[in-house]
């Protein structure tokens, strides 16, 4: 249910993992590489993971999501390596009997992933510059 891959994410496969007969709703979140950061044109993002801890933290997010919301299943796939503009870096799928908890759990999962899962990204700009990014808006870009 939780994986880190080095290739393009197959969104349908992630959705298939949460499929259960009881589900009346599946929500998904797909995080993509966007083409601009402010005025700077982005070529790609390079992701790096502390693999074993990242999986552990994703499992924790899944367990917490099931405890907090009335959902059936959750799956999280994060890609590492180079992720070009318009390509997905993360896909989350949640199944539930009803749509509301499915939406809420999906938002909870991506918000928490961005806080605790040890994965990092570096922006590569079209002008050749590179910069490591911090998700926390209070932190300067390190």
């Amino acid at each position: 249910m939780y994986e880190i891959v080095e290739h393009e994410i197959d969104v349908e496969k992630v959705i298939a993992r949460v499929s259960v007969p009881e589900a009346g709703a599946v929500t998904t979140f797909i995080g993509l590489t966007r083409n601009f950061t402010g005025e700077m044109k982005v070529e790609l993002l390079q992701y790096e993971a502390y693999h074993s801890m990242a999986i552990k933290m994703m499992e924790r997010i899944g367990l917490e999501a099931v405890e907090k919301y009335d959902i059936r299943k959750i799956a999280i796939t994060h890609r590492i390596g180079d992720v070009a503009v318009e390509e997905a870096s993360v896909v989350i799928a949640v199944s539930a009997s009803h749509r509301k908890p499915a939406f809420q759990a999906c938002e909870y999962a991506i918000d928490t992933l961005k806080e605790i899962v040890p994965i990092w990204k570096k922006e590569s700009m079209t002008n050749g510059k590179q910069k490591w990014i911090a998700n926390d808006p209070d932190l300067k870009k390190l």
């Binding site: 502390y50 801890m53 994060h78 994965i119 990092w120 490591w132 390190l142």
Partner: protein, 81 residues
């Protein structure tokens, strides 16, 4: 005690390696580890207060004692997603 420390992302680039073999006093804490790292690699000084520590895949704070056989990692704030 001798420990192997994993480092990631920007910190790995600053240090020039993804693993470090370090020697700490028995009972040393996370803060002691960061102090030792900063002594060996002064270039990380401006980043030190942002750095995160983990032991056996769990976040720890600076007051936690480092176990000699644990997997210890130091890394910058995460930016996945």
């Amino acid at each position: 005690m001798n420990i192997r420390v994993l480092v990631f992302a920007h910190l790995k680039e600053l240090i020039g390696s993804g693993t470090l073999d370090m020697t700490l006093d028995d009972g040393a804490t996370g803060n002691d580890l960061l102090h030792e790292l900063e002594t060996s690699f002064p270039q990380i000084k401006t980043h030190r207060k942002y750095l995160k520590l983990s032991m056996n895949g769990e976040y720890i704070d600076g007051k936690t004692s480092i176990q000699h056989d644990a997997e210890v990692a130091i890394f910058p704030p995460v930016s996945g997603g």
